[in-house]
């Protein structure tokens, strides 16, 4: 049984009469202990999908799904209280901006211990011991003295390590990392990624890595889903996704990477930007930006269909042989 089984997830904002779908037809299956990537430009709906999964969206978001299972729990059938009980204990999340994600008015130690106190019956000294152990495991130097530190006294990288320590405090089965390194310096990014993967291997938790940075995910995730305008457009093992992309959008993401270009050659940007939920074109949402678009793409929305070792949402998937260009 997969740890996470999502089928047909849909998140609407706005009036009931004119709903704006931030996410629709979102499918995701994640095995116990697997590492999965989720990529897409900003505005593609990946963060909204993850927040919907956690149950952290505000009351103005309407969530529906054919299936939303975590382990043997049907998340849609659970009470609010029961779902909250899962957060921080079974499923945890690390956010993009680590400095803003820590409460400035509480010490680091208190913020870690708070999660433990919420979910486990543990004495004060035992909680403190666990917090210290967690800080040590996320590679914070002089962890004993850091317990009493305030968030503003730590760097961004250190804050993200603390956030990871908080997320792992109750040994969750799933960790969602939403752009965990985007706000950090390049030198620190690699350290945090290394730490996440190392912890994933040691604890055996599943890791859902959300990023706009395809190479970052290519190095780490076994399988990757690509999101565009609220929908998954391609899903397959990361190695073949990068080597032989079938969806034009995946191909465009890869072509836009600077390292794929020779010196002096002009970088290939994807023209235009992701359409907002209210302004999505008819047919395939990508067709106005797609160099391979044909008349049918503007009329008929493609479905996500099985394709080789994964699936793709395109009427005219690219020929794998031509992909390396």
């Amino acid at each position: 049984m997969p740890l996470l089984d999502i089928e047909g997830l849909r998140v609407d904002f706005g009036d009931r009469g004119r709903p704006l779908a931030a996410v629709e037809e979102f499918d995701l299956r994640l095995d116990v202990g697997a590492v999965r990537g989720l990529v897409g430009e900003s505005g593609s709906g990946k963060s909204v999908a993850m927040l919907a999964l956690m149950g952290l969206l505000g009351p103005d978001a309407r969530i529906a799904a054919d299936r939303l299972h975590f382990g043997d729990a049907d998340l849609l059938a659970l009470s609010r209280g029961a779902r909250r009980g899962l957060l921080g204990r079974e499923m945890a999340m690390v956010f993009q901006d680590p400095i803003a994600s820590l409460d400035p008015c509480f010490r680091i130690g208190a913020q870690i211990e708070e999660t433990i106190a919420r979910h486990e019956r543990l004495g004060r000294s035992a909680r403190r011991e666990r917090a210290l152990e967690l800080l040590r495991s996320v590679g914070i130097p002089a962890p004993a003295s850091r317990l009493a530190a305030w968030p503003h006294q730590l760097s961004g990288g250190m804050c993200q390590r603390v956030m990871i320590a908080i997320a792992l405090a109750c040994r969750p089965r799933l960790l969602i990392a939403d752009e965990p390194t985007t706000a950090l310096d390049v030198t620190v990014q690699a350290q945090i990624m290394g730490l996440l993967l190392d912890l994933q291997r040691r604890t055996g938790m599943a890791l859902l890595l959300v990023s706009h940075d395809l190479p970052l995910i290519a190095e780490t995730a076994q399988r990757t889903s690509v999101m565009y305008a609220g929908r998954i457009v391609e899903e397959r093992p990361t190695a073949s996704l990068v080597a032989r992309p079938r969806h034009p959008y995946t191909r465009a993401l890869l072509d836009a990477l600077p390292e794929r270009h020779r010196r002096g050659e002009r970088l290939a940007a994807i023209h235009g930007s992701v359409p907002t939920p209210g302004a999505r074109p008819a047919g395939c949402a990508f067709h106005p930006r797609c160099p391979w678009a044909r008349p049918r793409c503007a009329d008929e929305a493609p479905a996500l269909l099985a394709d080789g070792d994964g699936s793709v949402r395109c009427h005219f998937p690219l020929d794998p042989g031509a992909a390396s260009g």
């Binding site: 956690m54 952290l56 909250r84 009980g85 899962l86 957060l87 921080g88 204990r89 945890a92 999340m93 956010f95 901006d97 803003a100 994600s101 820590l102 409460d103 400035p104 008015c105 509480f106 708070e114 999660t115 919420r118 979910h119 305030w150 503003h152 006294q153 956030m163 908080i166 997320a167």
Partner: protein
């Protein structure tokens, strides 16, 4: 923390100096002089007038009078009232506790009601409760104090007979003054009936005086909470699985307290400066009534001393607020070092 408080205290020196000048100038800017008001409507012949001015030292150059006053302040002597001949400090100390008692209860009432109302209005933004609370607070804020006070007196004292109309306590009780706070003194004297009477007298003026601070606190709490509830660390706190109560009242409220404490401090300062209207309506023997009387009599020493002492009290409240900032937010505490 001691260094933080010390640095704030040092900043007070120029403030206090400015206050003495202002208090001195304000007292003398009022037209007329003490001699004229003492003599009443029948007037006084010029020679006698000049002699009395000389006797009171009012014929000296203003600069000399100011330096004389400043010298007195420096040595802790605020002079004597021209009317009662009693030391200004002594008079102040008898009326100040009445004002403090009223203000503290009024602010406590404003916080006890305003804070939860603001929090709930923010959490239930756009709900009927939010709309009702914000409309009521705007009404309370806009209501003239003298009108609001009279309205409550008419309803609760005259019509329903629930509360007394004026004063601090029934005349039949004789409570030995220890602190000057009747609620405390009656408890020290172990006189339950007197305590009840003092409390009974306090309720209505405290509500009248607390209405505007209540409205300000409720609105400020709401807007500060709305901002904090959008913060990343609130989402992160929810992601830990914490209960809504803990997220709202521990994490969000703690972060929203800085602006709220600011308005509480400002409100307290204003009330200490003499809730002139409220004290007049309820015949409350406090600083406000005392100063108004001094203005009427052109009692320069009382005005100079009284304004300075009240300003000093306001400054102390502000200092307390600064210290509270540091306690509430570690970033402010560390930046002050």
């Amino acid at each position: 923390m001691p260094a933080f408080i010390l640095s704030r205290l040092l900043q007070l020196v120029p403030v206090v100096l400015g206050m003495t000048l202002l208090a001195f100038a304000l007292a003398r800017l009022i037209p007329g002089d003490p001699v004229e008001t003492m003599m009443g409507e029948r007037g006084i012949d010029p020679a006698h007038h000049a002699a009395m001015r000389h006797a009171l030292g009012l014929d000296r150059p203003l600069a000399v009078q100011y330096l004389d006053y400043l010298g007195g302040v420096a040595s802790g002597d605020l002079g004597r009232s021209l009317v009662t001949k009693a030391p200004v400090l002594g008079e102040f100390l008898t009326v100040f506790p009445a004002t403090v008692e009223l203000s503290v209860i009024a602010v406590a009432f404003a916080i006890a009601v305003g804070l939860p109302v603001g929090v709930i209005a923010a959490v239930r933004r756009g709900s009927a409760f939010d709309w009702l609370a914000m409309t009521a607070s705007l009404t309370g804020y806009s209501m003239p104090v003298f009108w609001w006070g009279l309205l409550l007196i008419l309803l609760f004292s005259v019509h329903l007979g629930w509360t007394p109309v004026a004063g601090r306590i029934d005349v039949l009780y004789d409570v030995p003054p220890v602190t000057g706070f009747l609620l405390v003194d009656t408890l020290i004297a172990r006189d339950g009936a007197a305590f009840a009477s003092a409390l009974h007298h306090l309720v209505l003026p405290a509500i009248v005086l607390g209405t505007i601070p209540l409205a300000t606190i409720a609105r400020m709490t709401r807007s500060a909470m709305l901002e904090v509830l959008q913060a990343d660390h609130i989402r992160a706190a929810r992601a830990k699985g914490l209960t809504s109560f803990r997220v709202v009242f521990v994490h969000a409220l703690r972060n929203a307290m800085i602006p709220v404490v600011t308005v509480i401090g400002l409100a307290t300062g204003t009330l200490l400066a003499g809730a002139i209207l409220t004290e007049t309506i309820f015949s409350w023997p406090g600083v406000g009534k005392w100063l108004v009387e001094a203005v009427r009599r052109r009692d320069y020493p009382v005005l100079q001393g009284g304004i300075l002492l009240v300003a000093g009290a306001v400054v102390c409240v502000n200092l307390l607020v600064d210290v509270l900032y540091g306690l509430l937010d570690p970033r402010i505490r560390h930046a002050a070092r």
